[in-house]
Amino acid sequence: MTYSAWIIITASLVGLSCGFIGVFLILRKMAMMADAISHTVLLGIVLAFLITEKLSGAPMLIGAIIAGLLTAFLVQWLHSLDIQLHASMGIVFTTLFAIGVILIATSVGNAHLDVQHALMGEITFIPWNTITLPLIGQIPQATALLGATLFVVLFFIVAFYKEWKITSFDPALAASLGIPVLLMHYLFMGLVSITTVASFDAVGAIMVVAMLITPAASAYLWTDRLSYMLILSGGFGVISAIAGYFIAAWIDTSISGSMAFASGLLFIVSFLCSPLHGLLSTYRRSRHRKLSSHTEKA
């Protein structure tokens, strides 16, 4: 397979996993939690690197999940001590992130683990770093990781679809029906963490937030059905990823930045033109209502 094909496949996988997870992020009103986790995952990666001295799949994933869950737990804990939710997030993620950056700057050295790289992602290097898998053959490591992540994400979303739905919509009812709301919360945070870390190589820590939130927010403007919203969000994620790649190639700039930017463009289009909740249609509807009430009066 060609070099660009691998990049496009990798980017699409990022778009799909992030798109699916993002839907529940925004429905659970936890968009900023994605921002927090995407930062603290860096600490998990750094610690995994310091312990194993390798930047490879399994330890990195474990480090990321631990860091993500630790973030979720600390935020929840501070919030329970009545610190505003957003302030708790702000305290936890900046602190853990700062510790990560300090560890990189002081003990890791820039040779193996580069903050810049972790923050920006470098999808152009992905096709060079391959592994050989049985049956599939040689594929880039990051792509394999993303494929596995997508599988895990899809599995959990499909298997617990109705539980995600009820715990997002009405956690009190879910709890009274005996669904373990807190466990589902941490499971979800775990899914956000692995999606984030798997997307790190491709889009970096901050742009992954764009891929998580924006396609889902766009989809939220197009439909009132959860299942359609998931499909649309995944689709928008893929479109943003691929469009971002071509924009970057066209004006020769950062691919991950362009992907975030493309997802933003897609949102603006949805924001203005969506037939259901877009600005234009809302405007037209309100005008229509005004006109018809006028005629009624007349």
């Binding site: 994605a34 001590l81 957003h86 997030m89 510790i99 700057a105 937030v209 700039t253 362009s258």
Partner: protein, 307 residues
Amino acid sequence: MWSILLSSNTQWVLASTIILGIAAGLVGSIAYWKKQSLMSDALAHASLPGVVISFLLIGEKNLLILILGAAGSALAGSLFIQWVQSSTRITEDTAMGMVLSIFYGLGIMLLTIANRTAGGNQSGLDSFIFGQAASMVRFDVFTMLGLACLVILVVCLGFKEWKLYLFDASFAKGTGLSLTFMNILYTAVLVTTIVIGIQAVGVILIAALLIIPAVSARYWTHSFRWMLVLAAVFGGASGGIGTFISALGSGWPTGPFIVVTAASFFTISLIFGKERGILVRYIQYKLHQKEVHVRKVNTHPEAKGAK
């Protein structure tokens, strides 16, 4: 180790981060009561494209111009958040996350281009991401000091107006205080603090300097006045100590050290704080439980309400 302190450049840098910390503590307290803690994070990220665009336009690194650019794009970001959240069913939380990441993505796109063009690498624009206080030249320091002092002045002079505005906006309106004006003033001091902070602390971590000292201060006092004072002290101390530590190593970023210092103050406050610190709270809870228990025994538990 102490020789670093003697260098006059370090002294100036230290002074500017201390003043920055004080300003951030004050403005952060206001942001906390406006329940907009993470707004500073979103706006800081949103300022990146403005910084790069103004650099690309004038072709050199002039802090004042970069700050103007940063302020412009941060304001654009805040307006966009307002607009999306008021005209659709998308919540503020989501809108903030989008603005944060999309603007930042745009900033990175432009930064890559700026670094590619001649002289871009010397621009030191990269230091805007993590902050490099040591890289500031004298002019930058003066700009920062001046603006930070202005922010402090605005907060202190308008103390009672801020108090009214935060705690009882409708009453404030009744007394003839213009809420629109206060909103604009608030946005102005917030954005100013953020953009002067990104040079020293960086776009990613400046939010910490606004959030952490303010929350720490809450653990020591119930009075708004003392909260402001304490937040300023915590902020200033974090700025100073963090900068000092980062100056000990070569090429160590300033921002993370400032944040970790602030976080240490927070941890101490969280545990030992005299108002609702964990220790105090635990003791209160135990006393309370005992009290309820005692009362229960005293009142003799007959099924008094039941028929």
